[in-house]
C-alpha cells in the first residue's frame, strides 16, 4: 500500500470511518502486510495512551457561575446579529483560496506543458530547415553555386568558404550523378550542400561537422512529402533530402557511406 495513502486509510480504519469496500480492502491488505499491521498496532497503542494520559480539562466551578451570571445580564430580547457567526469577515475562506490557488497552479502547469510539448524539438527544427533549403534549391538558378559533375572541381570550390572540407563523391555510375555544390546555411552555420540527380529527381546532400562525436546509422524522416535521411559518420553529419522514394534514398545513403568508409580505410 502506498505510504501516504495507507497512513490515512489505517487511521480511518482505526476510527471505523471507512466504508465497507475500503474496510474490506484494508483488512485484506493487513492480512498480508506485516508493516501495516505493525503500523496499525502502533496507532491503536497511541489512541490508548492519549485516552489514558491526555488531560481532559474540566470547567472550573467559578466559570459556571460566571456564565450563569453573564447569561442573566444579557439585555432582554437582544436581537441576534443578522449574520451568523460562520460568515464573520475576519475568517478568510482558506479552503476556497487554497482551492483557487491549486486550480491556478494546475492551469499554469498545463499551459507550460502544452507550450513545452508544442515547441518543436531540435530534430524537428532541423528537418524543417532541411526541407525548406531543399525546396529553395529547386527554384530556378538556386541549385548550384558551382555546377560541375566533377568531384575534383566541386570539392576544392568549398576551400576558403567553409572551415572544413566536405567529402565529395560522384555516384554517376550508380545512378546518382553529382551536378554541383553550393553553400547553404543550417543550424546557424554555413554548410556544404551537394546536388545529385537521380533520373528526374534532385537529391540534396548537406554535410557539416558533428560536435557530438557519435556515429549514427541513417534515420529516416518525412516532411511535406519529402523524404529525409540523416546520419553521422567520421565526425560529419549528413542529411539527404529528396522527393525520390525512400528505398532509392536509402540506397543513395548506403553508397555514400560505403565511399566515405573506403576513404577512411585508405
Amino acid at each position: 500500500m502506498e505510504s501516504k495513502h495507507s497512513q490515512e486509510k489505517l487511521s480511518a480504519y482505526l476510527d471505523a470511518e471507512l466504508d465497507a469496500a475500503d474496510r474490506a480492502r484494508v483488512e485484506a491488505h493487513l492480512s498480508g502486510c506485516g508493516e501495516c499491521t505493525a503500523a496499525l498496532a502502533q496507532l491503536e497503542a497511541l489512541r490508548g495512551r492519549v485516552a489514558a494520559e491526555a488531560q481532559r480539562h474540566a470547567a472550573p466551578e467559578y466559570l459556571k457561575h460566571r456564565i450563569h451570571a453573564a447569561l442573566r445580564a444579557e439585555p432582554a430580547g437582544t436581537p441576534a446579529p443578522r449574520t451568523p457567526p460562520r460568515t464573520s469577515s475576519r475568517t478568510w475562506p482558506w479552503a476556497w483560496i487554497n482551492l483557487g490557488l491549486a486550480g491556478a497552479m494546475t492551469a499554469a502547469f498545463a499551459v507550460t506543458l502544452t507550450l513545452y510539448l508544442g515547441q518543436p524539438s531540435a530534430d524537428d527544427r532541423l528537418e524543417q530547415e532541411l526541407v525548406s533549403s531543399h525546396f529553395r534549391s529547386l527554384m530556378p538558378d538556386h541549385l548550384a553555386d558551382v555546377a560541375s559533375t566533377d568531384q575534383h572541381t566541386v570539392k576544392p570550390w568549398f576551400a576558403g568558404k567553409l572551415d572544413y572540407s566536405p567529402p565529395v563523391y560522384d555516384l554517376a555510375a550508380q545512378g546518382y550523378a553529382l551536378i554541383g555544390g553550393r553553400l547553404d546555411y543550417l543550424q546557424q552555420r554555413p554548410v556544404a550542400a551537394l546536388a545529385y540527380r537521380h533520373r528526374l529527381h534532385i537529391v540534396n546532400l548537406y554535410i557539416w561537422p558533428d560536435a557530438s562525436g557519435h556515429a549514427s546509422t541513417p534515420q529516416a524522416g518525412m516532411r511535406q512529402g519529402f523524404h529525409l535521411l540523416r546520419w553521422t559518420q567520421d565526425g560529419m553529419r549528413y542529411s539527404a533530402v529528396s522527393d525520390i522514394n525512400p528505398q532509392d534514398l536509402a540506397q543513395f545513403a548506403a553508397l555514400l557511406r560505403q565511399k566515405v568508409a573506403q576513404a577512411d580505410a585508405q
Binding site: 497512513q7 490515512e8 489505517l10 487511521s11 480511518a12 476510527d15 470511518e17 502502533q42 496507532l43 497511541l46 489512541r47 495512551r49 492519549v50 485516552a51 494520559e53 491526555a54 488531560q55 481532559r56 480539562h57 474540566a58 470547567a59 472550573p60 466559570l63 459556571k64 460566571r66 456564565i67 450563569h68 453573564a70 447569561l71 442573566r72 444579557e74 432582554a76 430580547g77 437582544t78 441576534a80 446579529p81 451568523p84 457567526p85 460562520r86 464573520s88 475576519r90 475568517t91 478568510w92 482558506w94 479552503a95 487554497n98 490557488l101 491549486a102
Partner: protein, 179 residues
C-alpha cells in the same frame, strides 16, 4: 411581565441545553488557547454567542454545535499573536507536516513536565491538535469534526492521520530524550 418570564424561560432552556457540555467546551478551549485565563474568557464569550444564536439552532448534536462556536469564537475574537503562532490552517499546504511549527519553549517545557502525551499534544500544530482533541476526547465522527472545524471530511481524515504520525514521532523522540 410575560415578556420577562419568557426571557427567563429562554435563559433556563439554554442553560439546560448547553451547560451539560461545559466541560467539553472548556476542554477544547484549553487545548486551543493552552492557558486557563484565555480558556475562561473564550468559553464565556462562546456561551454568550451561543445564547444569542440559540433561536437559530435547528436541532442536532448540541455538543458539536457548541464546540463549533467555541472554535469559531477562538479564531474570530481571540486570534492574537499567540493564537496565530500555533495555527497552521493557512500554511499547511506549504509545510508538509508542519514539523517546524514546534515552539522551542514548548519543547523545553515538555522536557521538564514529564507528562509526555500532554507535552506532545501541546507541541502539535493547532489544526492537528484540534482534530485529535475532537476525535480522541470528544469522540466525534469525521463528519462532525468536519462541521466543527469547517473543513472537508477528506481534510479531516488526512489531518488526523498526519497528526497521529507527528504525535508518534514526538513521543518517540521524547522517550529517546529520557522525558
Amino acid at each position: 411581565m410575560d415578556k420577562y418570564l419568557g426571557d427567563d424561560d429562554k435563559t433556563a432552556r439554554f442553560e439546560a441545553m448547553a451547560m451539560p457540555h461545559l466541560d467539553a467546551a472548556y476542554n477544547l478551549a484549553r487545548w486551543l488557547t493552552r492557558n486557563q485565563h484565555d480558556a475562561d474568557d473564550l468559553v464565556q464569550s462562546a456561551y454568550l454567542r451561543a445564547f444569542r444564536f440559540a433561536d437559530g439552532f435547528r436541532g442536532g448534536d448540541v455538543r458539536a454545535w457548541l464546540l463549533t462556536i467555541v472554535r469559531h469564537t477562538y479564531y474570530s475574537t481571540l486570534r492574537d499573536g499567540q493564537a496565530q503562532r500555533g495555527d497552521i490552517s493557512f500554511d499547511e499546504a506549504l509545510h508538509g507536516d508542519g514539523d517546524d511549527s514546534a515552539d522551542p519553549a514548548a519543547i523545553a517545557a515538555s522536557r521538564d513536565t514529564g507528562r509526555t502525551v500532554n507535552a506532545a499534544l501541546a507541541q502539535l500544530p493547532q489544526a492537528f491538535r484540534e482534530v485529535l482533541v475532537l476525535k480522541e476526547m470528544d469522540d466525534l465522527s469525521y463528519k462532525q469534526i468536519a462541521e466543527v472545524t469547517e473543513t472537508p471530511i477528506g481534510t479531516v481524515m488526512s489531518r488526523l492521520a498526519r497528526a497521529r504520525k507527528q504525535l508518534l514521532a514526538y513521543l518517540k523522540h521524547g522517550e529517546q530524550d529520557g522525558i
